[in-house]
């Protein structure tokens, strides 16, 4: 491999990391809001509101049923509005965040639902407010499941960035398309694929490690 190629890959990797990091952060923030809202407004939840629940759920299903590439195209005007352009990694972050938020919302919802009703009830019985129950009971109790789910979510976002690369987002996905597909440079293609696999592995390992350390504290003898 020549130096040009290494530079190219390095730049692609940095762009991908940049997109994954910010998209994950924004998608996570929106996902937490969505997931928590879905759980607390559900039937029997601490802030029961069936209508709101239904609306959010329907919107999430709607967004999730769109193929990502279509969603990105639909969100291009929003990217232009927020970051002033529809090209490059920063513009992609807008679409990726919004595209991944419903996905993370569902993941977070299902993790929070694992917390037993009894624990919530015990908190209610001592006079805890819904706010306290959400932040001191629901989220901490669900933490291992949350981390496991969020790991899956971030890996999903990593894959999304590769797709976004196909339509001008930059990053490793874009390299793979531009060089590997359009110019038949197999070495670039293989190198980008390896980098993406490595990236996904590192994310998975980190998530596993985190879950393990939480569980070790809670469920293992000293």
């Amino acid at each position: 491999m020549n130096n040009d190629l290494i530079d190219l890959l390095w730049e692609g990797l940095l762009e991908t990391l940049y997109m994954v990091f910010w998209s994950s952060l924004f998608a996570l923030a929106m996902g937490v809001v969505l997931g928590v809202t879905l759980v607390v407004t559900d039937k029997g939840g601490i802030l029961e509101a069936p209508k709101l629940n239904k609306v959010i759920s329907t919107v999430i299903n709607g967004v999730r049923s769109l193929p990502l590439i279509i969603l990105i195209v639909l969100l291009l005007p929003l990217s232009r509005l927020i970051v002033g352009t529809t090209l490059g990694p920063t513009a992609a972050i807008v679409s990726l965040s919004i595209g991944a938020a419903p996905f993370l919302g569902r993941i977070i919802e299902s993790a929070l639902k694992e917390v037993s009703a009894g624990k919530i009830e015990a908190a209610k019985a001592v006079g805890a407010t819904p706010f306290t129950i959400i932040f001191r009971v629901l989220i901490p109790e669900a933490m291992p499941a949350l981390v496991r789910g969020i790991t899956i979510g971030i890996i999903g976002i990593t894959e999304f960035t590769a797709v976004a690369g196909a339509i001008g987002a930059g990053g490793l996905g874009s390299l793979a398309i531009r060089f590997g597909y359009q110019r038949f440079r197999e070495d670039v293609l293989i190198a980008t694929v390896l980098l993406i696999i490595l990236l996904v592995q590192i994310i998975q390992w980190s998530g596993d490690l985190l879950v393990k350390s939480i569980n070790k504290k809670r469920y293992k003898f000293e």
Binding site: A125, G127, R218, K220
Partner: protein, 261 residues
């Protein structure tokens, strides 16, 4: 202490509206250990959960220590709940928190300062004999120890009333006995009113003074525990006491046979 009048509650299900509590009238004196017994599905849990409004009754009133619980708006209800402890069959401890942090939870909710919480939690953990377990997670505790944490959590904010829904049903007889002893001790020391739900006669006999029998959502008998055993009136009471009598007879027959050999 507790006045329940004309309390009714029903659940709406696919099969229609099922009445679970029907026109309950009940008085529970201050400082009593009051037992409520009934067969499975009679409505015991629903009744006790109405007392702190984990379940909303359809109609009727509940007055606890002069406060009409059934009329309280959300915020005042939460304040009232801070003075009503509750223990559960499944303990319902928080896995993410140590024993100390579990017991501290009601005090955090009540907004007490840290030094106060520390002192108070230690005090109550000593009372339930778990002083040496404060940094342990619930996972590492036995059932009996978990229930002691549950009791400590229920008592830490000095409630006037303790509700117990089958708190010993998941425990072996030996552990049940030690938990009941603890409840009796607490009742004596802290002059705390305890409402205790059970389907075990042993529990009634061991700790309760007065009691009520619930059958199909209605209170069919109230009085002292002694009267219940000596002179059961309702069908449910007779069935419960009959079971004991049956075994008592069997035992005396067996003992008689043994003596004959």
């Amino acid at each position: 202490m507790i006045h329940i009048s004309n309390l009714s509650k029903s659940y709406k299900t696919a099969k229609g509206v099922i009445p679970v509590l029907q026109n309950i009238d009940l008085f529970i004196p201050k400082g009593d250990i009051f037992g409520i017994i009934g067969f499975s599905g009679a409505g015991k849990s629903t009744l006790i959960r109405c007392l702190n409004r984990l379940e909303e009754p359809d109609s009727g009133t509940i007055e606890i220590g002069g406060k009409v619980i059934t009329d309280l708006p959300e915020k005042e209800l939460r304040q009232a709940r801070q003075k009503i402890g509750m223990i559960f069959q499944q303990f319902n401890l928080l896995d993410a928190r140590t024993v100390f942090q579990n017991v501290a939870f009601p005090l955090e909710v009540a907004g007490h300062p840290k030094p106060f919480i520390r002192a108070r939690v230690r005090e109550i953990l000593d009372l339930v004999q778990l002083g040496d377990k404060e940094n342990v997670y619930p996972f590492q505790l036995s059932g009996g120890q978990k229930q002691r944490v549950g009791i400590a959590r229920a008592l830490v904010n000095q409630p006037d009333l303790l509700l117990s829904d089958e708190a010993t049903s998941a425990l072996d007889p030996q552990t049940t006995y030690s938990i009941l002893e603890l409840l009796r001790e607490i009742n004596r020391q802290l002059k705390l009113t305890i409402v205790l739900i059970t389907h075990e006669l042993d529990v009634l006999q061991h700790v309760c003074n007065n009691m009520a029998v619930i059958e199909n959502g209605r209170i069919v008998e109230t009085g002292t525990v002694e009267k219940f055993f000596l002179n059961p009136e309702s069908d449910t009471a007779k069935r419960f006491v009959h079971i004991i009598d049956h075994y008592r007879e069997k035992r005396s027959v067996m003992e008689g046979v043994g003596a004959g050999i």
